[in-house]
């Protein structure tokens, strides 16, 4: 009788794997924070230039006009930064901010590959493809 009711196999992955997951997460967490702080510093620098030049002009966001192409495409933003425009720097910082979670997803692929977890390498590639489509396929790269 007792032999028949042997305990079911434990559903949890072994302890070592969880620890590896945790180490990957700590590295990724620090990557995210560094990315955010660098992008905040770039935005702040752009803010100084922008406010220095335009502080006393009226602010009006009542009517939606849409941004000019120099503030809504990657080449436009880079050109705007080269021209020394404050708002160009702000957009560069915001682009970097959007890139940080994407970088986190990209690095997760390496982590899952090191654990030889093919299923999660595939899942992560799907998420990365969606993110890259959003960033490049929506006209931002043009």
């Amino acid at each position: 009788m007792p032999a028949a009711s042997a305990p079911a196999p434990h559903p949890l992955p072994p302890q070592r794997q969880r620890w590896d997951d945790h180490r990957i997460e700590v590295i990724l967490g620090n990557l995210l924070r560094t990315g955010v702080l660098i992008s905040a510093a770039i935005v702040l620098w752009g803010a100084c230039i922008y406010l220095f030049r335009h502080a006393h002009e009226p602010a009006d966001y009542r009517i939606f006009r849409g941004e000019p192409s120099e503030f809504r495409t990657i080449p436009g933003v880079i050109q705007s930064v080269i021209n020394g425009r404050g708002r160009g720097w702000i957009q560069l910082g915001l682009l970097l901010l959007i890139a940080t979670p994407i970088a986190r997803v990209a690095f997760s692929i390496v982590g899952f590959a090191m654990e030889r977890d093919r299923m999660y390498v595939a899942f992560t590639l799907i998420v990365l493809a969606i993110l890259l489509y959003s960033l490049l396929g929506s006209g931002l790269g043009m």
Partner: protein, 278 residues
Amino acid sequence: MTILAFTAVVAIVSFVAGLLGSLTGLGGGVVLVPLLTIFFHVDIRYAIGASLVSVIATSSGAAAAYVKEGFSNIRIGMFLEIATTVGALLGAFLATRIPTSALAIIFGAMLLYSAFLSRKPRPLDQRNLPPDALATRLRLNGNFPDLEGQRSYNVQHVPAGFGLMFGAGALSGLLGIGSGAVKVVAMDQAMRIPFKVSTTTSNFMIGVTAAASAGVYLSRGYVDPGLAMPVMLGVLAGSLLGSRILVKAETKSLRLVFSLVILVLGLQMLYQGFWGKI
């Protein structure tokens, strides 16, 4: 108002929203769009663009603090991000096509729901649930440090959770919010993931979800640098400060006040949306 005054006031309001959002766990993004549209008369599309950017900043900024605790589950996060990012893309494309008054009405309804959820006590964690076949195959089950050592959990109802996450992603992309409230409901109530794990995993997912729609918003010209700058810097500073004092502060009454603010803003958004003022 001059640009200097506008920037300063928006930065202060964003700082307070980020601080309260972080202290109460209700998120700052959810109050920013109504505050900007109702009190600063900002077009709702600019407000959503700026809010979305600040959501990424808060999520990524808090990530390092969260992962140290070892509660979040990157497999649950990555698997569900497939649903949230597809939803976010869809939401962002929808946002460029529907009238702004409809956006305001959906936003108002979302605020009322958030206010209701924040007053409802969270269900107690159910322990020792049997392993679910799909969750086991997807390796979603895990464990986390508890008072009594490592506590393990078995994830339930994976398809329902995945579907709800798609909805959370669509709302995030449509309204420029983190929609952490919906994400936590999907993970707490459908998937029965313990509270500490769901809260921290949801924070991780919010940044990736928002990044999926941010590209669309930026390329459509919804992200104005002059507006996004004070919003992003203010919310980031506020939420970083909030996460430092989180443990010590008495959050119960604060949560009540903040959910009342959300309720009032929700009613305002509905009113202005229905009367075509937005």
